[in-house]
Amino acid sequence: MSRKSFLPALLVLFALLLAACGGGATPAVAPEFTATTAPQATATSAPPTPTPIVLVDGLGREVVLAEPATRVVALSTSITESLFAIGAGDQVVGRDDFSTYPEEALQVESIGSLFGELPAEAILALEPDLVIAAETIAPEQVTALEGLGLTIFWQANPINFDDLYANLREMAVLTGRGEQAEALIASIQARVAAVESALEGAEDRPLVFVELDATDPDNPYTVGVGTFLDTLLALAKSENLGARIDSPWPQASSEFLIDQNPDVILLADADWGITPEAVAARAGYDTIAAVQNGQVFPIDSYLTTVPGPRMVDGLEIIAALLHPDLFE
Amino acid sequence: MKSVQVKELCLAYDGFQVVKGVDFTVAPGEVLGLIGPNGAGKSTLIRALSGVLPIQSGEVWVDGTDLGTLSDSQRARLIAVVPQAEPLGGAYTVRQAVMMGRTPYMNWMGNPGPRDQAFVKRALEFASLADLAGRRIAELSGGEQQRVLLARALAQDTPILLLDEPTSHLDLQHQINLLSLVRRLAKENHLAVLLAMHDLNGVSLCADRVALLVDGRLVALGAPDEVLTAENIAAAYRAQVEIIAHPRYGTPLVLPLQD
């Protein structure tokens, strides 16, 4: 055959091989992904019933449990924290290396880091009846775990409190902790409402820049639209400078920062040694209103970026920093 | 026993007309010396005859076969080339390298049969390489490396043999050795040999006929004393020489004159 037709022929051959293999792969538990427009679960908030639990997860997969899970492996910091917060801590048999809150979680066996290849062996060895995965787990990894006979429930990261409540309710149904979950949700709602009402009289809407990462101090990373922290900033009656850049995790140049002149700078990278003094000393930053008025504050990165129940703590902290006169 | 006939051969290379309408024949058992100044087209001619360079116009025939109709493998059974020694393939042993000359006859995996072994053995003996058969080429001297290339061409068992500046990097002893080997090959095995060389005196001693190539044209073709004349050399090389007869063999000796 001529050289020109060689390549397309190979591609067709590969496509056929793919189709043949793809058709043969039937995972043990969940059927093929079904198309859904609303990825969130359609669960109820009532206490669990002994009938089989059927939920649709964030990838549109239908997940079935005969009864609430008693051996759960949590594959993210926020999921571990959430499970403990709804009282399902005793049902958690595995967590990842970065799940370090609450302190009881440290007693749970870690299956290692989620970076790179999933530690499938460690997960299997724990013989879980449920694995709850967050957005860092890729769809092919979910299918891979399914192929090993595991039941996996995938949740998208919440970007606002309603998403968080929905995720908590899903976890509650899966672990039979409906009552505790509702109590937790109620308390969070109350605290959010308290912040909102305190801010009703707020006259100003400061322009805020949140610095997530300044490995390159001339081009720090911030948060944009589509993140929980952006939601917190909105709830705290402020304007997120990062929202002016078109990306959920945008990189802002120093020039942009100086030009836009934010009123407040929040340092979510304070845990990694960035101090307000260091920021103020950066070239050109002395013209920024936030620096001139001493409005550069370190904030706890966990409480403001881990999308779990303690985001409300983060909200309270940010609101107090931005409107100190309304929070004594 | 075959002869090679070149008919009105024209060769172009990188847009330049390098060889312009060359005609000659080399008979079996004959050594034809190809001489000419740098850039005259000697190497180009050898490369075209061996199939490496495409022919612009004209034909090359080996007896009744037009080389243009042959595949690489078929051509390799008719024509073998002894190139100038280069450092390539130094990690192979002498025997491995000479065995590669049998490529046109061996199977795809290059596994030698008894005939191939026999040819290689004969070639190694002819080139006095039997003792060095297990040595790596890179460890040999320049003269020995050139003999390996000769043995490899021999193993290829072709009626036509082309040599492209085979003595350029050799010292006197090895030059003499190689040229006498070539002459023996032609006479004993009835090969048609085309020998392109700078060394005019070497050609004179070794060749039956000489062809003088200047600027891509064959300006003289005949016995050594007919071609190696002071006028021809002066015109071709723009160098003044005096020609005397070799004291022992009577062949023309080219003696350079200073300006």
Partner: protein
């Protein structure tokens, strides 16, 4: 012949160790029992846990075979490339397979696929496609009528490869949190488990490597230069095309499922050239077997060193490969092996 037997023995040992060792401790006896029981027609009374059986049969065994196939593909193609390009620095990624595969994979990762289109093989297929398109582009750029000058091919490969890498980095930075997923692929690692990836890769590797073995002799002759090879009757341009296409296909298939693993394709052929000589008829098969063994050993280290987490295997091959390369260099100064 002794070298073949020795290398094969190392391969067997590596395979066995790969199945016995892992993040979770399972006794070798159990492993043996599990595997024996899995053989058709054999029934042992089950004294092991279902989890252990799943680990051995669904994780370790197919993973070991996939890694072995990948190592074989990389080293075999690497040897062929070194022979074709007559360049000791040649590796299977020389003309852009890795960059193309990386771009394909990361591009597929950057798209938010609607669930009805999602397929497990989407990313490997995209990687494979990226690799083959890159090779085709490089070939088109380098060829002059019907001839492919090797130096031009390398230069075109470097240029296109750099461009693809830059695009890949750009995509990685722009696409939210997909960076980890992309880095995993680029450092070498297979997110797919089970037997399906093995079955998908198998035909390419078997056919590809099987064909490359037949090019041992032409590659030998090519070491004396393209002109001399042609004068000895080798159809040089055809050999070049075939070796490039077959080696690229084989490498692309391996990379599609195992990510970009470096050093194996470069070092293993050199090692066997040093031990067994320059004859490509032996070198290619030796590299195939040795490459499988080497990558299995590297993968074992990657899985065990930081258990239960695993290092990307590409990091282990680089860390182990670099000092190894230096050792080869020192040997090379003392004897002729290239």
């Amino acid at each position: 012949m002794r070298l073949f037997s020795l290398t094969f023995a190392v391969l067997l040992a590596a395979l066995i160790l790969s199945v016995v060792l892992g993040a979770v401790w399972i006794s070798p006896v159990s492993v043996l029992q599990i595997i024996t029981d899995a053989l058709p027609g054999v029934e042992l009374s089950e004294v092991w846990s279902a989890a252990h059986a799943a680990i051995v049969l669904d994780i370790r065994l197919p993973h070991a075979i996939l890694i072995a196939l990948t190592g074989a593909a990389l080293a075999g193609s690497g040897a062929a490339y070194q022979g074709l390009f007559r360049n000791p620095l040649a590796d299977p990624y020389l003309i852009g397979v890795a960059s193309g595969a990386g771009l394909g994979a990361v591009a597929a990762m950057a798209i938010h696929w609607p669930t009805e289109l999602w397929n497990l093989y989407l990313i490997p297929a995209a990687a494979f496609l990226g690799a083959m398109l890159t090779i085709w582009l490089v070939y088109q750029l380098a060829k002059v009528r019907n001839i492919v000058p090797l130096t031009t091919l390398i230069l075109a490969g470097v240029a296109v490869g750099s461009f693809a890498s830059a695009l890949t980095s750009f995509l990685m930075l722009r696409s939210d949190a997909q960076i980890y997923r992309a880095i995993s692929f680029l450092l070498g690692g297979s997110p797919l488990t089970g037997w399906d990836p093995v079955l998908a890769v198998l035909p390419y590797v078997i056919l590809g490597l099987g064909s490359l073995i037949f090019f041992g002799h032409p590659l030998n002759v090519l070491q004396f230069g393209e002109e001399q090879a042609k004068q000895m009757g080798v159809s040089v341009e055809r050999v070049k095309i075939y070796v490039i296409v077959i080696a690229s296909l084989t490498t692309a298939a391996a990379v599609a499922f195992s990510g970009v693993i470096g050093f194996v394709g470069l070092i293993v052929p050199h090692l066997f050239r040093l031990l067994g000589g320059p004859d490509y008829r032996k070198l290619i098969p030796l590299s195939i077997i040795g490459g499988a063994a080497a990558l299995l050993l590297a993968d074992m280290l990657a899985r065990v060193l930081l258990a239960p987490s695993s290092l990307p295997v590409g990091i282990v091959t680089a860390l182990a490969g670099a000092p190894f390369f230096l050792w080869i260099l020192r040997r090379a100064k003392r004897e002729v092996f290239w």
